[in-house]
Symmetry: C2
Subunit: 227 residues, 2 copies
């Protein structure tokens, strides 16, 4: 007989930008401005598809697309200009529909959750304030050596929630979230709210794809949660 105490041991690890907060497009524009400051130019759709990926891997993209090396100094400047440009744009950033309600529902139902982002805490603070989430529920780039698609932020999040990897559901809008989930041995669930297509997320391993946090809240039962 299966121990019934294990039945409901399930928890959520959410991505932030494009998953709970409607900020993926502003991040793309902010990266474009940062690149323009360094005399580099990349189309927005390419930048958009890299949001949520670690900064080190992002420079790999630059290298391949622009056929130029990026020095450590330039990378540091890029990250600073991006943070500044994002701060100028984040006045238009809103929560995604149902984000607050979803987290409240999980708290009320005693289902553990955390937020794990490839961004830095300083950049995420504005968005976390909108969500009214305590900083201890958030794992950022500052807590690990490697950001997504490496599994590190997810593994730290699961440890903090006292969840085994096969009890953790990773919810994110980008293929980096889905790849990191697979590498961590966790179930990946996609969100269209970051602007990727459903097929891109499914091909990257999403077990299911929802429109936004509100849609996920309505259909939590599909993930096997009983209330």
């Amino acid at each position: 007989m299966i121990a019934s105490t294990n039945l409901q041991s399930i928890g959520f690890i959410f991505d932030l930008d494009g998953t709970l907060v409607d900020s993926a497009y502003q991040h793309a524009l902010a990266w474009q401005r940062a690149l323009q400051c360094e005399g580099m130019s990349l189309p927005l759709w390419r930048i958009h598809r890299q949001v949520g990926m670690s900064g080190g891997l992002f420079t790999e993209l630059l290298l391949r697309q622009l056929k130029r090396e990026v020095t450590a100094d330039q990378l540091e400047r890029l990250q600073q200009s991006h943070a500044q440009a994002y701060e100028q744009l984040n006045g238009t950033v809103r929560l995604l529909p149902g984000a607050r309600e979803l987290l409240k529902h999980l708290i009320d139902s005693k289902i553990p959750w955390a937020i794990a982002t490839s961004g830095r805490l300083a950049t995420a603070r504005h968005d976390l304030a909108m969500l009214a989430v305590p900083e201890r529920a958030v794992i950022t780039r500052d807590d690990v050596t490697r950001a997504k698609p490496d599994p590190d932020v997810l593994l730290v999040a699961a440890a903090r929630l006292d969840l085994s990897v096969n009890s953790a559901i990773v919810v994110g809008d980008s293929i980096w979230d889905m790849l990191a989930a697979r590498r961590a041995g966790m179930l990946g669930v996609g969100m269209l709210s970051g602007g990727y297509g459903q097929d891109e997320l499914e091909r990257a391993g999403a077990a299911r794809v929802y429109e936004d946090p509100g849609d996920l809240l309505q259909r939590l039962y599909e993930l096997g949660l009983r209330f």
Copy 2:
């Protein structure tokens, strides 16, 4: 025997935003700001997926998503605020890679082409100037009763180029371009450069999907063009 004069009668009808010019994301943000001015809020990914659709149909989306009617006055104000917000953002707009080279190649090869957009000429002028395209090569919302996904702009473009519908190739980044192409009886070709996923474009009827104008230029032969 097939008349050899018909062999090379092929021509291109291009969409503008997201297809030749990297402006789809700025249009999405401009619509979001316009909506916020009217006290309405829609996530950017939903707006993004509607860019390139006629304004009248866009209000249909608002009605369904926000569950509220949009009056003719509000629609007019929305379109004006969108144009203003886009003007503020278009300093960051660039040509997509290969856009100018593609058009130059078609001119040099005497292959007819035109641009057909759901936007208004006043909004498109900045982007057309970057492309250095004469206004007579451009069919806009001002020239027809119904914008995409109705086929009107495409049919006017084909008539102006003296092309039959089955000689015209429609190149666009959105599903509205692909739907309009099908309704016009023309071949639709997708571009990833507007930010849609490849699968979304293929499901909407794209016969092929290219990354951007430069990628199309490199592989024009795949569309049956002989030089």
